[in-house]
């Protein structure tokens, strides 16, 4: 049996009548030590799939098997790097990482925990910013804190939800190399979600396209046989690389041309601003929605292909 496995997983949101079926019939098998990349369009359900893998969402049908257990509760053995960082804004960089370290390594002495935390803050080059709050950091720095927090938990499987999305090309390349290095050194099992086929092929043993939603499903997995460690400069001229890249994009494009539509959805941006207290409506009888946050009062209309 595989290390991490999805069997016939389907997921949708909303009540009957105005439901969106996001994922349908997802089957996925990941072996221990494997690096799998899932590539898909924006809004196709990648983060939903990741939440299911992490145990944060229960699939409406189908099963999640992890390390021999059936649909287990989330825990630090499945380390998720959230797409929107999810740093706690009242804690400093160091404290955000330390919160995870203190929880996961409660058996270590305080001094050992401190040096462990320092090591992972240093790994993402944030030692100079260790006492800053998330609101004082750039988007890329926040993402690195989030990566450091998850790596510091030393999870059995690393779940990366577009972890490098907000980074500039240079930092992105550095962190890609860093992920590849950690993975080789620790024989880490990794699931990476990305919208960049190049990144997927550079890092992964296997690339799986996710078709556009609704009812998104995984395509055939495409093995990447290029040997590790891979050199990003050499690889671009490589024949296999071009073949795989072609295969991935062709599959996604083919699935895309089925039909088109537009949708409007609320954009939930990374949560770094404090709550907007002035916006709350006075509570009356009956159920109340939660107060709006300033950064949620935004919508985007996008054309998506279905």
């Amino acid at each position: 049996m595989s290390f991490l496995q999805l069997q016939g997983v389907s997921m949708g949101f909303g009540l009957p009548g105005r439901r969106t079926e996001v994922l349908a019939d997802i089957d996925l098998e990941i072996e221990q030590g494997e690096f799998v990349a899932i590539v898909g369009y924006s809004g196709s359900g990648k983060s939903t799939l990741m939440s299911i893998l992490a145990g944060l969402l229960r699939p409406e049908s189908g099963r999640v098997l992890f390390d021999g257990r059936d649909t287990p509760e989330p825990g630090p053995d499945r380390g998720l790097v959230f797409q929107n960082y999810s740093l706690l804004p009242w804690l400093t960089v160091y404290e955000n990482v330390a919160l995870a370290v203190d929880q996961v390594f409660s058996n270590l002495s305080p001094a050992e925990r401190r040096s462990h935390t320092e090591r992972f803050v240093a790994m993402v080059n944030l030692t100079p910013a260790r006492d800053k709050r998330p609101s004082e950091l750039s988007g890329g720095m926040r993402q690195r804190v989030s990566v450091a927090r998850t790596l510091a938990m030393q999870p059995k499987v690393l779940l990366l939800d577009e972890p490098l999305g907000a980074l500039d090309a240079l930092t992105r390349a550095t962190l890609q190399d860093e992920i590849a290095r950690i993975r080789l050194a620790e024989k880490q099992t990794v699931v990476l979600i990305t919208n960049d086929p190049d990144e997927a092929i550079l890092l992964a043993d296997r690339v799986i396209p996710l078709t556009a939603g609704p009812r998104a499903t995984l395509g055939p997995s495409i093995p990447v046989t290029l040997p590790h460690p891979r050199d990003r400069r050499a690889i671009h001229g490589n024949y296999d690389f071009k073949q795989i890249r072609h295969e991935v994009t062709q599959y996604l494009l083919k699935a895309r041309t089925r039909h088109r539509t537009t949708l409007t959805r609320a954009l939930v941006l990374p949560d770094v601003e404090p709550e907007d207290i002035t916006h709350k409506s006075p509570p009356m009888f009956g159920p109340k929605g939660r107060a709006r946050r300033r950064n949620e009062v935004k919508t985007e209309t996008v054309e998506v292909s279905l």
Binding site: W90, M153, P287
Partner: protein, 264 residues
């Protein structure tokens, strides 16, 4: 470069506004409102209370700061009770939809009830207890009950507004219930809680005057009511100005604290 008087307008304009009100007051007392003492008389009669603010000549004849301290002490106790009871209730309302459905209608009905209505109930409630100061308990009951609601409701809103992401972090880390509460939920709710605390303090200070009037306890409000009954009107105005000034200072202090937590 602005002319120099314009750079001082933050000082000059309020002074002008104050002078205008003094003039209106003076004219009123000399025209249509014969019983209203004019500003000069008010100051003259208030002098003993202001210039000797800590004097104690009798139970209801004390310096104005002494009265203020008595009132503040009572408010502090009532306010503390309001926060200690109100914050957990707010958390329960925010956390449990069932709890919210059960108690929200009652809260909405109790919330607008005036302190003047609660106080008699407080007197009745504690009347049969032995060895306690019934009027003090009734006053505390009234202050706590009236000032609790902003804390309750803001805390509940704050708890509901905790981003799911933060709770997901707690779930991935497998934080215990207690740690989730102290490390994630309370810090995330603090800005809302402090807005509630500030509004509650304002109400507590409003209620104190009514409570003291009805119970005749020594304090700014009790003094005001006694002087009114004794037909000494000058010190009523002194009391009003004191109450306003103290309320303003309290609100400023709470705003400073509140702002500290908002940026956190």
């Amino acid at each position: 470069m602005k002319p120099s008087w314009q750079r001082l307008d933050f000082l000059l304009l309020p002074l002008l506004g104050g002078a205008f009100i003094l003039l209106l007051w003076h004219l009123s007392s000399h025209s249509w409102s014969g019983d209203l003492p004019d500003p000069a008389k008010t100051w003259h009669e208030s002098k003993p209370y202001v210039l000797e603010p800590w004097a104690k000549r009798g139970e209801l004849d004390q310096g104005i700061l002494r009265f203020t301290m008595l009132s503040l002490w009572l408010v502090a106790k009532g306010y503390a009770i309001a926060l200690i009871i109100g914050t957990p209730i707010g958390f329960f309302l925010g956390l449990s939809p069932t709890f919210n459905k059960a108690f929200d209608p009652i809260i909405q009905i109790l919330r607008p009830v005036s302190p003047l209505a609660w106080l008699p109930l407080g007197m009745v409630l504690f009347a049969k207890l032995k060895g306690v100061n019934v009027t003090e308990l009734a006053a505390l009951f009234t202050i706590a009950l009236c000032s609790m609601w902003p804390t309750v409701l803001n805390t509940a809103v704050g708890v509901r507004a905790i981003p799911t992401d933060y709770l997901n972090v707690a779930r991935v880390l497998k934080l215990s219930r207690w740690k989730t509460l102290t490390k994630v939920m309370i810090p995330a709710t603090l800005p809302y809680m402090f807005t509630g605390f500030r509004l509650s303090l304002g109400i507590a200070w409003l209620v104190i005057v009514a409570a003291e009037m009805l119970t005749g306890r020594p304090g700014v409000g009790g003094f005001l009511w006694q002087q009114y009954n004794a037909l000494i009107y000058e010190q009523i105005i002194l009391c009003i100005l004191t109450i306003g000034g103290v309320g303003f200072v309290l609100d400023r202090l709470m705003s400073v604290i509140e702002r500290r937590f908002k940026t956190a």
